[in-house]
Symmetry: C2
Subunit: 252 residues, 2 copies
């Protein structure tokens, strides 16, 4: 992928998308997803890994709710990656990630992921640029391994504008249903906006092979980003074209 | 590594090695290993992965006993990899392996390993040569990831002659302490000797970067192979030079 300047990429839906019609489309997509997931699970041959990254308050949690609610939870698992534990830090950075990759038939959602190990670690100065480069290589090999084992890897960056992010973080302080999400660290991280954009751009440059690209999703409007992710997931599942297996007893 | 013709490599100790003196050396090495392992564990910074491969009856179990007995088991773990379970087969071939890699401070021994997935699978015709090549690439990237996280990876192939193997398999049928190891499959596998040599040679050619070479260990004599592995492990630990950390309370 050529160098990406995030500031030049849109954070809002194209002008011809409207909330009401898009939400209607999203509802249809969700119905399709329910059927496709059921066949994926029954066929037990392929799997899907959805990687969600984005700045704090870019709406990862809400997106998961909007896209995956209604799908049979037996076939969908969400894994949130927080600060690594002591045991996790005693291993290579992909150790805890690899354990959570989807089995055949499953859709696995990563709320944050192995990419944190080349994002926050760099902004906080915990790793050198050289180490980040080595990790990029390891990440590309890892995702290729998953793909070769039958996993479709979909990577989404929820791209919010700095302004929108500031407003959302502010809301966390005042909305009683959102206060629990507020951490003192949020304020500090918000101030590191430019640093995060730089390391994200580096990720998009080095970890976006044509076989496993990043989707940069305009994310200022919740309805639009949910639609974009649901659409990409639907298309990926349609491509896998999962089929109910024949009943071995009846042969039909 | 250039093409290796296994049949040209020795399966017995060089003429100037004698059993009694070598066993005395092995005893000394084990004492050194005990001290080095204790410091490795205390320092909690590096780890060691010992990968053991070899034909059936090449003496992997006995070697583990001879080299690692006496070392504090708190710092040494042995993992035997058998036929994959249904759950393991539902993931990429490195999934179950990655979970067993050593934490900092630990020595981990793999009795068989991820290499089975490019050995028995090929002899049994379960994967194509093309798939084997892809797995070689994945294995090299995986081992590099471990090394970059501070793990020393030592790979040993226990090289027994076909004649010695046949005798040992025969012994399994008559020695009451060894009968439990005999499987009907052994006989079949013994007959596949030439096929195994070919796929092993392919592994040594493709998965032996200078930073992570295979050690081909002459393995017809149990005393010699234990000595060779203990020596390589001792040297690797000396290179890591683990130190007891300063006592944070006394500063000494």
């Amino acid at each position: 992928m050529p160098t990406t300047s995030l500031t030049k990429l849109p954070t809002r839906a194209p002008a011809d998308y409207h909330k009401t019609t898009t939400l209607r489309e999203l509802k249809k997509l969700r119905q399709e997803l329910i059927g496709l997931q059921d066949r994926l699970y029954a066929e037990n041959r392929h799997s899907v890994l959805v990687v969600l990254q984005g700045m704090d308050a870019s709406g990862k949690d809400g997106l998961i709710r909007r896209v995956f609610s209604g799908i049979n939870p037996q076939g969908v698992r969400v894994q949130a990656f927080k600060e690594p534990t002591k045991e996790e830090l005693a291993h290579d950075f992909l150790w805890r990630i690899h354990q959570q990759t989807p089995a055949r038939g499953m859709i696995q959602v990563f709320n944050r992921s192995h990419y944190e190990d080349v994002l926050i670690t760099r902004v906080e100065g915990l790793i050198t640029t050289e180490e980040a480069r080595r990790r990029f290589t390891a990440i590309n090999a890892f995702e290729k391994l998953l793909q070769q084992a039958g996993t479709t890897v979909l990577k989404f960056y929820l791209h919010v504008s700095e302004k929108e992010q500031q407003e959302r973080l502010q809301e966390r302080l005042t909305d009683p249903t959102k206060q629990w999400k507020y951490e003192a660290a949020d304020k500090q991280k918000a101030n590191q906006w430019p640093q995060y954009q730089v390391v994200y751009e580096d990720v998009f440059q080095h970890c976006s092979p044509t076989t496993c690209p990043w989707h940069i999703v305009p994310a200022d409007q919740n309805w639009y980003k949910a639609y974009v992710v649901a659409l990409a997931l639907r298309d990926a599942l349609v491509k896998l074209n999962p089929q109910y297996p024949e009943n071995p007893k009846t042969g039909s």
